[in-house]
């Protein structure tokens, strides 16, 4: 298997790695870079647990090859908090009990942040459709939607 050298920026940090040509970005993040916040729930792009942003665009990292992101800026859950200061979404997820087992939580947070970055005043329906690519089996989504709506309201007040 031929290896590929890739230069990226991950959560603002310049990062170089070498990966196999058929290795997904998710595998690179998890197995080569130790960034295990993105989870593999399906490896087919159906569950959203591996959500990251690539140049600001919400993406399932299991559907992208590690070799494809040369020169790109990648955002993962590990970069969401600013030092010890949690992002408002992270705080609201905890306060609203919007997680039970927590395996889907990183993906939901990345997807929710991506929504709020583009739409600071989403309706409940808009939140539900924006998060429809992320599966949660524990919560029934109720508290997740409430957490996102509440965060949006708080960010608008700020």
């Amino acid at each position: 298997m031929s290896s590929v050298h890739v230069s990226t920026t991950i959560n603002g940090d310049p990062t170089d790695y070498v990966c196999d040509a058929d290795e997904t970005l998710l595998d690179v993040l998890r197995n080569r870079l130790g960034l295990t916040g993105a989870k593999e729930g399906c490896s087919t792009g159906d569950c959203g647990a591996c959500s990251v942003t690539i140049d600001g665009r919400l993406t399932c990292s299991c559907l992208v090859l590690g070799a494809e992101v040369d020169g790109a800026k990648i955002g993962t859950i590990e970069g969401m908090a600013n030092g010890e200061k949690l992002h408002p979404l992270q705080k609201k997820f905890i306060e609203h009990a919007a997680l039970q087992c927590g395996i889907c939580t990183p993906g939901f947070l990345i997807a929710a942040k991506s929504l709020l970055d583009h739409n600071p005043k989403p309706t409940e329906t808009e939140v539900r459709f924006a998060l429809a690519g992320n599966l949660c089996r524990c919560t029934g989504y109720d508290k997740i939607v409430r957490a996102v709506m509440d965060t949006a309201a708080e960010l608008r007040r700020a």
Binding site: M1, D20, R30, G34, L35, T36, G37, A38, K39, E40, G41, C42, S43, T44, D46, C47, A49, T76, I77, E78, M80, A81, L86, Q90, F93, I94, E95, H96, A97, L99, Q100, C101, G102, I103, C104, T105, P106, L109, T125, V127, R128, F129, L131, A132, G133, N134, L135, C136, R137, C138, T139, G140, Y141, D142, K143, I144, V145, R146
Partner: protein, 760 residues
């Protein structure tokens, strides 16, 4: 210490019932929490499992010689590396056969060999080099087909248990169960109206988002470690140690954070194989299932076929209920049909009731528990007939249910006499709920259903250490699957009389505590929570003894109040109260560390009832059903952390909605699963659903000091029927099969319009 539970209904709580942040919250929102697949060991190998492509086949031979020659392959294991050490334990033998096939592959996805290699790519290549010679056998995947006399047999010598006289011919029927009391035939003779219907439910999967994963490390000295996502690491330890011939104490199992289980992680699949690979390679081996493997080779729930007959008088009293339930449990004995038969009529007060269950094997993966295992299907059948019967009698279904509801003193359909139970309060609250009075539009319908689950107690062992700074570390052995660390912390803080923030709950490995049962049966908040309370009482005794020592008075002259030791009365002397923190600070000079312990097997898990209301709208063009509104009303006994109680109600309801509308295992004629992925096995997504309203009722459980009842499972019992009743009301056709998918609904609508036309 005897339980003093009389106060539970009047007690004023300080921290129990509040909604603080969970202790693992920050870890889980930052990606720091370590789940099954997130662990790494130096020098670890990648383990992969070779699985049967056939639904039923004799394994004539396995040749791994080519795989072993591939550079980077460090071990291959087959059944020969997992010899039978089960010593006549039939249940354990089934586990052994399920984790590694022996003479036959019993379902598509059945493990036949495994490989450990230095990379995933090499392991994948090695799997392709293992040559398995199969002789394909006829298969059966449908429960009714499997019961037919000419069905292909999974076990040619299996004679049905529980039938008198014993059948002479073998079959796929493992066992017959019967529950009930009274005289059903006599009951039906009193009935003015009788409704009899047949139902089918497809198998569903728990659908936890985290695939099974483990990291095994065994040395040639017979000592080992296992990191694993599981609902019960003590169960994993004992099961794996027995299968591998290890001493229990030499296998230390650590439960990772667990990404959902819902019953599906209450047994072992990959763990013994990973240990066998590690032992053979003498290297750590990590095995992580793919989603496809999760669907094909873990434990979905049973599919079922159920007949229900219920009779009532014209004034609305049910006089007889009768059900026959047939559940296939995959290729091994043990479908939850027994629970199905026990729970089918548990929500009613009946003089004449009978439920007969048949446990059936077929060529599917061995079923595993799924949230109130066996109950949702039985409830779907019974509550559908109840709704129809109410309409026939001319009563509102809710009034019909209230009239016949089980209450304190009812002889339950499965045997016991009920103590204080919360079914009637959920029904009464449902009738008052705004949801019940909201108007409905065109193509919309409202349905409801009541459900029941037993709940479980079981073994727990808790250790509680008081730090000299007055903070408390609670060590439990129950994996936290939905926020239980928060509820353990709340109960500990309540009992000790200290703030929640001063308690940290940790989940210990198997070397640290005595045996803890699996986190199942809605037992953890009840049983492990009660162990926390009792360990706190043990610690309080010791804190009081230290205070007595400091004050120079007898131990029994000290009491504990609001987090302080106090002299019991005037005779004990005039000492100012000492806080837990003050006593803890003096521990080093008053006898050393202060700790509380409790280990027991808990009885007294109070049963839990729920009533669900569902509004749906059906698009007659497409057969698509949209859930418009959904309300869950359930008895929690006492809600320790109400947010996570609501979360259990909401999550269970939505899994049930998925089961009712979308989810199903689809098998081809070749016995192969056709939808082993989240694209084609469609669980509800955010845009499918409305908010799920919840109402928590608190009818204290006399078996728990705070009145707690388990809440995790009852919530999945009523949704199948509540949704089906709602859809049936919307379209005017009784839907008797789940999932009520668009093709099925369209077919029912077409049949209805054809019948209407024929009648004209």
């Amino acid at each position: 210490m005897p339980l003093d539970n009389a106060e539970s209904s009047t007690r004023k709580y300080k921290v129990v019932g509040t909604r603080p942040n969970r202790p693992d919250g920050v870890d889980k929102v930052t990606g720091r929490a370590r789940f099954g697949a997130d662990a790494v060991a130096p020098g670890q190998l990648v383990g992969l499992i070779l699985r049967s492509p056939h639904a039923h086949a004799k394994i004539k031979s396995i040749d791994a010689s080519k795989a072993l020659k591939l550079a980077g392959v460090k071990a291959v294991v087959t059944k020969d590396d997992l010899p039978d050490k089960t010593d006549g334990d039939a249940g354990l033998y089934d586990v052994l056969v399920n984790v590694m096939a022996r003479e036959k592959a019993l379902y598509q996805g059945h493990a036949v060999a495994a490989v450990a290699a230095t990379s995933a790519a090499i392991a994948k290549a090695a799997l392709k080099l293992i040559n398995v010679d199969y002789e394909i056998l006829p298969h059966v995947t449908d429960v009714d087909e499997a019961m037919k006399p000419n069905a292909p047999l999974l076990y040619p010598k299996m004679i049905t248990d529980g039938v008198d006289p014993k059948p002479k011919k073998p079959s796929n029927i493992v066992r017959r169960y019967e529950f009930g009391h009274g005289d059903v035939e006599a009951g039906f003779r009193q009935a003015d109206i009788v409704i009899e219907r047949s139902f089918k439910t497809e198998a569903t999967h728990q659908g936890y988002i985290e695939p099974h994963a483990c990291l095994a490390n065994v040395g040639p000295d017979g000592q080992g470690e296992l990191w694993v996502c599981t609902q019960g690491h003590f169960m994993v330890r004992d099961t794996c140690a027995r299968l591998l011939g290890m001493d229990f104490s030499k296998l230390r199992v650590t439960a990772s954070e667990i990404g959902g289980g819902f019953g599906g992680k209450t047994t072992v699949f990959i763990e013994p194989v990973a240990l066998a690979l590690s032992r053979k390679a003498n290297r750590p081996v990590k095995v992580v299932m793919s989603r496809e493997e999760v669907f094909k080779a873990t434990g979905p729930t049973s599919s079922s076929s159920i007949d229900v007959k219920i009779g009532a008088t014209k004034d609305g009293r049910i006089v007889a209920g009768d059900a026959t339930l047939r559940y296939q449990g995959g290729a091994f004995a043990g479908s939850p049909v027994e629970f199905g038969a026990m729970t089918a009529f548990a929500q009613y007060d009946l003089d004449n009731v009978r439920a007969i269950g048949f446990d059936v094997v077929c060529n599917r993966p061995k079923q595993a528990a799924y949230r109130a295992p066996g109950a949702p299907m039985a409830n779907f059948a019974v509550e559908s007939v109840i709704e129809e019967l109410a309409h026939k009698v001319g009563m509102e279904p809710i009034d019909f249910r209230i009239k016949n509801a089980a209450r304190e003193g009812t002889h339950s359909s499965y045997g016991p006499i009920y103590g204080p139970i919360g079914l009637l309060p959920t029904l009464q609250k449902a009738r008052e709920h705004p949801h019940f009075k909201a108007p409905l539009g065109k193509n919309q319908g409202r349905g409801m259903a009541c459900g029941f689950w037993f709940n479980f107690g079981g073994q727990s062992c808790v250790s509680m250490n008081i730090g000299v700074d007055g903070t408390v570390s609670v060590t439990v052995g129950s994996p936290d699957i939905g926020g239980s660390r928060a509820s353990m912390g709340l109960m500990t803080a309540e009992e000790l009389g200290i703030p929640y923030e001063k308690v940290r709950t940790v989940i210990a490995d198997t070397g640290t505590l005595g045996y803890n049962d699996v986190t199942d049966g809605s037992r953890t908040t009840f049983a492990t929570g009660m162990a926390c309370i009792l360990a706190a009482r043990d610690a309080i005794k010791k804190l009081c003894a230290r205070a007595a020592q400091i004050w120079g008075i007898p131990e029994d002259a000290v009491t504990w109040e609001n987090g302080h030791a106090k002299p019991a009365g005037a005779n004990a002397g005039n000492h100012p109260p000492m806080s837990l923190k003050e006593i803890a600070a003096q521990a080093p000079s008053t006898g050393g560390p202060i700790a509380g312990h409790h280990e027991y097997s808990a009885d007294g898990a109070g049963v839990s009832f729920a009533t669900h209301i569902c509004d749906s709208e059906v698009d007659p063009e497409t057969g698509f059903t949209k859930i418009l509104r959904y309300t869950v009303l359930q008895d929690a006994g006492k809600a320790v952390h109400p947010s996570y109680v609501e979360g259990q109600f909401q999550g269970g309801a939505v899994q049930g909605i998925g089961w009712a509308l979308n989810e199903e295992y689809i098998y081809g004629k070749d016995g192969r699963l056709q939808n082993a992925g989240f694209l084609d096995y469609r669980i509800p997504v955010c845009s499918d659903l409305p908010m799920i309203d919840t109402v928590i009722l608190e009818i204290p459980n006399p078996g728990h000091p705070y009145g707690v009842r388990g809440v995790g499972e009852t919530s999945i019992v009523p949704p199948l029927a509540a949704v089906a009743n709602s859809v049936s009301a919307a379209v005017g056709v009784r839907m008797t099969e789940t999932p009520i998918s668009p093709p099925k609904l369209l077919a029912a609508l077409e049949k209805q319009s054809a019948m209407k036309k024929a009648a004209e």
